[in-house]
Symmetry: C2
Subunit: 306 residues, 2 copies
Amino acid sequence: MKIGVIGAGAVGLYYGSLLQRAGHEVRFLLRRDYDAITRSGLTVTSPGGGFHLEQVRGFRDSRDMGTVDLVLVALKAFANQYLADMVRPLLGEHTALLTIQNGLGNEELLAEAFGGDRVLGGVAMIGVTRGEPGVVNHMALGSIRLGEFSGGLSRRSGQLAAMFTDAGVACTAVADLRKVRWEKLVWNIPFNGLCALTGQTPGRLLATPATRSLVAEIMDEVIAGGNAQGLSEPISREYGEEMLATTARHTGDYRPSMMVDRLEGRPLELEAIYRIPLRYAAQQGAAMVRVGMLHALLELGEPVQP
Amino acid sequence: MKIGVIGAGAVGLYYGSLLQRAGHEVRFLLRRDYDAITRSGLTVTSPGGGFHLEQVRGFRDSRDMGTVDLVLVALKAFANQYLADMVRPLLGEHTALLTIQNGLGNEELLAEAFGGDRVLGGVAMIGVTRGEPGVVNHMALGSIRLGEFSGGLSRRSGQLAAMFTDAGVACTAVADLRKVRWEKLVWNIPFNGLCALTGQTPGRLLATPATRSLVAEIMDEVIAGGNAQGLSEPISREYGEEMLATTARHTGDYRPSMMVDRLEGRPLELEAIYRIPLRYAAQQGAAMVRVGMLHALLELGEPVQP
């Protein structure tokens, strides 16, 4: 399969490299890592065993990439105003779009630009960061749940899940993409924001009783906000407790992407991870008071938009 | 009048120096500033005109201070476990105790140790910080409202209010001390905590729409928490709006005491300003959700108690 990866941060580079290793023809839109990767290839480190790809197809401009069968979108959501223009040159008649970006609103953006029939979304549970240019450090986890934007199970979503599975990524197709999006928010909303705000890791937040309780309370708010959307089945309270346990076990020392963004002076994905979920929840009468407070505190540190 | 000042931070030094300038015999329990003040006196800078006291009675140990007519308590509330022992040597038969410490629980502590009849509380609205040893910088405001711990107007509270007024401090005696304590919390709870947490000044918080709204929401929670205590008359919603306006006008650049404590690595007055108010509010069924979240975030940065 010909695959174009748009947004070659840690997540895009990681999954793209696994797909290339499995035999697919993968083309990466690169910026910071262009020189290093086109010269020396791409290295993935991982506790489960790393690997190196000698030859990687890198491009500086998506107009040079040609059409593909699948566009894998892993762009930071704060750059979404550029997304449609980056994707357009890659589209053939049957090209599918799979966005594995964080938060809500990404499928809607692609559907508006290119039609909802092309669009799938995926939720990646993964700890991965960029190292030196040309190096990606996989820390923990890595599974993907994906589904059609328009809902339901399709032949296409099953094929894409099989493709990832064959490449070594635990992947399942789901009928209710919105539910898994909200499930991911149960992790992202507390940990991304609290870690970015306080400069502390998830493990430190969970080791302090006051903030461990706060994380659990925020998770409960997000679960209630998601369940107010009329999902195919509700997210259980236990889901939050499992997330706490998984985090303490696997990703306590991991720096969530938003924490890294703040430490490195980049803007934060506030629209996708906070504002749109807050708006959707409020529209259904779910208040998410602590989530709103966290968003306000994160706003304080943001650069003023031009 | 013989006055002993316990807790010679910026607030204690400022009011004590005004009382000495007005002719009272003031004795200060000093620690950091002992050498500078006993050698060179005490300097107060102020936008309204500063002054210098050449001779200041400083002590390292309250057992050397002798008995006084009034003990003025301005100790940081996080050192309250030492307060009763510091105060005891100053007490004669009719000595009154006036605590102008922050938050709730301070009068209760003194009343338990020495009897409620001796105890008055005062709420200072002031922006003042310590400079070099021997220097106090008065930035803005300075009024005090004081009242009997046991409630009601007394001859004594009227005399103390007159004493402060004669010394140049706008001061009134109030019948309901609890109400003015909660009114002070309407300012202290949002600004002390948010400034300590974010490292930003009140002015910056008010200039950012998201955090300005958050401050107003927290003020509303504190007003509801106070009004659930059965005050003599409720605190009005407008009180919060006036606080916002006064802050923007007078103390936007001021660093609240808790922000200074955090910047200088001291513990925070979390018990008096957050935990006791949260407990009192919860006992009356007022939740103060945002206040609880702010407290949890402040707890995260605290040193572990031995």
